[in-house]
Symmetry: C2
Subunit: 218 residues, 2 copies
Amino acid sequence: MRIATLLSGGKDSLYATYISLQYGWDVLYGVAIKPKKLSWMFHTENIHLINHIAKNVGLPLIEKETDANKEDELDDLKSALKNLAIEGIVSGAIASEYQRTRIEKICHDLGIKSFTPLWHKEQGMLLKEMIEAGFRMVIVAVAAEGLGEEWLGREINKDCFDELLRIHKKYGINISGEGGEYETFVIDCPLYKKRIEIKKATKIWEKGRGYLKIEKIL
Amino acid sequence: MRIATLLSGGKDSLYATYISLQYGWDVLYGVAIKPKKLSWMFHTENIHLINHIAKNVGLPLIEKETDANKEDELDDLKSALKNLAIEGIVSGAIASEYQRTRIEKICHDLGIKSFTPLWHKEQGMLLKEMIEAGFRMVIVAVAAEGLGEEWLGREINKDCFDELLRIHKKYGINISGEGGEYETFVIDCPLYKKRIEIKKATKIWEKGRGYLKIEKIL
């Protein structure tokens, strides 16, 4: 199965890629859609680092900018995929029907398959599985009650997992951030040739939501 | 995720069930469709033992007989599912578009999800994974060049895997039997409370295809 994988630099897209390799698939390309503003479909935080990540994973990167208007961004994804010699694409969708059905529509039009290996896995179990598989993930955006400024830049290790579990129980957030409660950036995982070190980052905080802009990595 | 799982007693349906539990899903029911003749959709070999298997796994079994005419059998599956308090169903489809798209259509009509955790996994890798997970599978039907009468009743262990690999290379059969080259019956796996012992079985052979009818188990 010759596939491309939708990459954002966040945990879900990289973990879905990792699972795909364990399925015995040939992952031929990373595909990154770079939204110019907040998008319904695509992860925006630190997407400027995606070239570095694709290189670190050893995947040729197909990139496409998008204005991120609701329908245009789907056309942009479609045009990024249409000339690739692939049989399917993999995405890290966990629970969003919006993401999944739209990706399926594009795949249907292109005559390829859509694979979502994380789809509806129990989210706490999934996050734990990632930690145990050697994924090191830093929180780079928060937008939920219970997740204040102090969460920006924090690594999701076992201690952090326990705290997320408490916040999940208190406020009802999805423990793996699937509802947009938080976004991540993977600094290390079994796919990487080299661990990423964040050398400079700035916290941007406004009205209950925040973003960690990573400015320099090594 | 509250789900039912399509059970046949063959390796793919049981392995898909096993994976579902690892995803953290609540597997509430087994569903068995019992075709009165060879079916496009459903496994027929030794389906009379499915009650024993469901009990061995500890799942309440929803059973439905079908005349196995092409459209009726889909209606029969739909009616078996429609009153269950579930959010989705799991099936062991690996490569059959016919199976997968028809199950998806039924799920769409019922407003539930269709999960196919084995879908397009590399078949040799998948079969090896099953053996390593402790699945003991006996070949109960063969219908392919290179698979003669001597294959009926044989257990797929590591030696057998190597032979299947040779036959795969020589004749191009799918190594996990996905094209109907062979069918299996699981005598042990991590889901079973008790290993199944085949006490009496009869080989039925005609014109290049054969079937092992299991008559007594313990």
